[in-house]
């Protein structure tokens, strides 16, 4: 009840007209920044910080946090409509979201994504109020050892992303891992595969790669046909029907849990959350083979997860003052600009600010869903633009977006190169998702493996000392071994069937 009365006090702060307005402005700007490819939540928040210098601390933080979780709503829109991820966490949404748009179900995809996002975000914000203490203790269990085994589990799920050919999926997984090797070695600082260029020392930037693979690759593929033929199916309806609502329940629940839990772990990105949620949906679906052809669960799950992740990442910030993601680190900087140190003392010294900001998360998420649902009707009108013109607009936005990440032409070149690679891979029917998954998880896996070994002075025994790590290792083993059993069983059956035929 204590948390409840505190939260009510927070609402009295967050519902002040100026704070409501700031939450609205933040949500709106966040949605727009999410829509623009390239500019992600970190850059958006950073750009806004100087504007908040003159505001009061509560208002400033409400504005910045609303922008932060608002970007997660906006990122979906371009992924579904144009196959260009608006930001990194929405890359996986392209697979089924764009397929749905081609069938004229973009409205349904976006509506359910917005509703899922709302539920995911609100769920994580509820956890912050009700279970922050235990969840924080859970987050503290995650050192390099636990982190490595978790990432290993994530990579072992790669097979879940395979389409028709397992070999092709594995090849793409290795391709992603190889790309992840580029740059300075995380533990010794030696440059690898940089060909003497400074630009490659930090590795290949992730966002230009996915914009190229998905967005530019798609445009190149479409350019093969005359543009006049590129007419998308008629938009049927914006409102999901009962069946679609019911189908989304599972993905929303799983997405909320995956996103919130991974959000707690410092160093885990929300792209990892949305990818793992996608795989979870595919694994738990009765029709895994239909993923990639416009399954609603493949949109709702990841979109729920990345919003839950965004809000979940704020939990360690409030409880311990630990920023679990780069964007949260920027928000933490904003706290400090106003003389506030996030952490347990914040609740004691400035309860009005702490609870006011937390209450604003609920308000912001409600605003976002109200803001986004009517906007969907407008966004889908984008598809009425003739494709010849639309593709030129998309290309110019992706170029601008790639440049804006680091003010660097190099990133534009990376995007172009990966556009061509993406085109060729599509032509040869290679799945893109496994490469993106290993590109996200590869660097995390390498650095956490090597720091774990630094901790144990080289002994692999350290992975068996932590109960959390052992659980993850066992799960990984099960995931890797289980399919081969069913494979043999099937083979036996087919062999048996074959023998019968012979007889």
């Amino acid at each position: 009840m204590d948390a409840f009365s505190n939260l009510m006090m927070g609402f009295s702060v967050a519902l002040l007209p100026q704070h409501l307005m700031l939450a609205f402005v933040g949500s709106l700007l966040g949605t727009l920044i999410g829509v623009l490819p390239g500019i992600g939540p970190a850059a958006g928040t950073a750009m806004l910080i100087p504007l908040t210098f003159s505001m009061g601390p509560t208002g400033a933080i409400i504005l910045l946090t609303a922008l932060f979780y608002g970007t997660q709503y906006g990122g979906t829109i371009t992924s579904v409509l144009l196959n260009v991820p608006g930001e990194a966490a929405s890359a996986i949404t392209c697979l089924d979201g764009y397929a749905m748009a081609k069938q004229g179900r973009a409205g349904v995809a976006l509506s359910m994504a917005a509703i899922g996002s709302f539920i995911g975000g609100t769920f994580a914000a509820l956890c912050l109020v009700l279970a922050a203490g235990p969840l924080t203790r859970l987050a503290l269990q995650f050192g390099p050892v636990e982190f490595f085994t978790l990432v290993l589990l994530g990579i072992s799920l790669l097979m879940g992303l395979a389409g028709k050919s397992m070999i092709k999926a594995l090849m793409m997984g290795v391709f992603g891992l190889l790309l992840a090797m580029i740059g300075m070695d995380p533990v010794r600082g030696l440059p690898r595969f940089t060909f003497g260029t400074m630009e490659l020392m930090d590795g290949i930037s992730f966002v230009p790669v996915i914009m190229g693979l998905f967005g530019v690759g798609e445009i190149l593929l479409n350019a093969e046909k005359p543009f006049a033929q590129m007419v998308l199916a008629k938009m049927s309806t914006l409102i999901p029907n009962r069946q679609e609502m019911r189908d989304s329940l599972g993905p929303v629940v799983r997405g909320s849990l995956i996103g919130t839990l991974l959000g707690l772990v410092p160093g885990m990105t929300n792209s990892a959350s949305s990818f793992l949620s996608y795989i979870a949906e595919k694994k738990s679906s009765n029709y895994p083979e239909r993923f990639g052809t416009g399954m609603l669960a493949g949109v709702v799950g990841p979109e729920t997860a990345n919003n839950a992740h965004a809000n979940g990442a704020l939990i360690p910030l409030f409880t311990l003052g630990i920023p679990a993601s780069p964007t949260v680190a920027i928000i933490m900087g904003a706290f400090m600009m106003h003389g506030l140190i996030p952490g347990p003392l914040l609740f004691k010294d400035h309860p009005g600010i702490a609870w006011g900001v937390i209450a604003s998360f609920y308000i912001g998420n409600v605003m976002l869903v109200i803001l986004n649902l009517p906007l969907i009707g407008i966004w889908v009108k984008l598809l009425k633009i003739p494709y010849g013109i639309l593709s030129a607009i998309i290309l110019s936005f992706t170029v601008l977006g790639a440049y804006s990440i680091n003010n660097s032409v190099f990133d534009v070149l990376v995007m172009t190169l990966f556009g061509v690679i993406g085109y060729l891979l599509r032509k040869m029917d290679f799945p893109l998702a496994p490469a993106v998954l290993t590109l996200i998880l590869g660097p995390m896996m390498e650095s956490s493996l090597r720091t774990s070994l630094e901790m144990s002075q080289g002994s692999f025994g350290i992975f068996l000392e932590s109960p959390v790590a052992v659980v993850f290792l066992v799960l990984t083993a099960v995931i890797l071994i289980a399919p081969s059993f069913s494979f043999f069983r099937k083979k036996k059956q087919s062999l048996a069937a074959g023998e019968e035929d012979l007889l």
Binding site: A42, P50, P266, L320, I322, P326, S408
Partner: protein
């Protein structure tokens, strides 16, 4: 009458001449011109504390210099992309950049990184922030003093774990210096940044925390700070002794300054350096730095040069130890 007129003509001539002579150098060195923008390059992404600090200085500089000062982020390769761009910029004072320790120095001391610049490529303007290093432990740790930690590390070499926030960061150099000075041997774990480091220490995965005075988490009561690597105590950590007071002469940390490309005219350097100094002295700026937990320390070009040379000498001394690790 005629004589008076002649006299006044001479006086008039001299007056005009004097005015001309007085203002001539001023024309030549009129810096900055009001219609020209000064670019302040920050070699880190927007939104981090280096960036925020530089933006605060930039807005103060606009008032001091009466022209616009724009922050341009050029992140990448641990600052090396930005430092290279700065060293190659036109030396007219309209392009200046941030110089952070230890990255500004380590990037050219490490032969693997093939940097094309060194100290001589820059005209130093001013140092404005010094964030001293610290050693801390979790509040419930058995180690009460720096001596306890060092004794434990000596008793069981390479068993006591300490974090760094990455390869060649100030924590990396500082822990090496501590080992070099005391003969203790720690197990160094290179984590990515201070968030995973704080998590690992609070979660009990790592015993000793190495960081900076400015890390907000160490002031939250979850940590016990054992020593500050500076010549003086720090107002952010009242009651915490320096390393020197405890018998270890170690002075390390990260610092932030500004530099122009080599060849920038002396007068321009002085104008910029003085302007930065004036900004750091305003109450508003002091309050904002205080909020951010950053220790202000202004050094003029001569002082900064001396500090740079001393810092570089120590890093040259420690660099072989880093090379030996790899």
């Amino acid at each position: 009458m005629a004589q008076y007129r002649f006299h006044s003509r001479i006086v008039g001539f001299f007056c005009v001449f004097a005015v001309f002579v007085l203002f001539l150098p001023a024309w030549a060195a009129e810096f900055p011109q009001k219609d020209k923008t000064i670019q302040l390059m920050v070699h880190w992404s927007a939104g981090g504390s280096s960036d925020t600090g530089a933006r605060l200085i930039a807005s103060g500089l606009e008032k001091e210099l009466g022209t616009s000062v724009v922050v341009v982020n050029r992140p990448g390769a641990g600052g090396q992309i930005g430092y290279t761009a700065l060293s190659q910029a036109k030396p007219d004072g309209y392009t200046i950049g941030s110089t952070n320790f230890p990255s500004a120095i380590s990037s050219y001391l490490d032969p693997n990184r093939k940097a094309t610049y060194n100290r001589q490529s820059f005209e130093l303007l001013a140092l404005h922030v010094l964030d001293p290093g610290i050693i801390a432990v979790k509040a419930d740790s058995p180690y009460k003093t720096l001596q306890d930690v060092i004794a434990a590390a000596k008793a069981a070499p390479k068993k006591l774990r300490v974090n760094t926030t990455g390869i060649q960061t100030d924590e990396h150099f500082a822990t090496l210096w501590l080992e070099q000075l005391t003969g203790a041997q720690l197990a160094r774990v290179h984590l990515k940044g201070s968030a995973p480091s704080v998590t690992a220490v609070l979660g009990g995965k790592i015993e000793v925390y190495c960081g900076n005075v400015g890390d907000p988490q160490v002031r939250g009561g979850e940590f016990r700070v054992l020593g500050i690597m500076d010549s003086e105590r720090n107002p952010f950590l009242p009651g915490v002794k320096t390393f020197e007071e405890q018998g270890y002469k170690i002075y390390f940390g990260s610092s932030r300054g500004f530099a122009a490309p080599a060849g920038t005219p002396k007068e321009v350097v002085n104008i910029l350096s003085k302007a930065i100094g004036n900004v750091t002295k305003t109450e508003d700026h002091k309050q904002k730095m205080l909020n951010m937990g950053l220790t202000l320390r202004y050094l003029d070009p001569a002082g900064y040069k001396k500090y740079w040379d001393e810092f570089e000498a120590k890093m040259r001394d420690l660099m072989p130890l880093i090379q030996k690790e790899s």
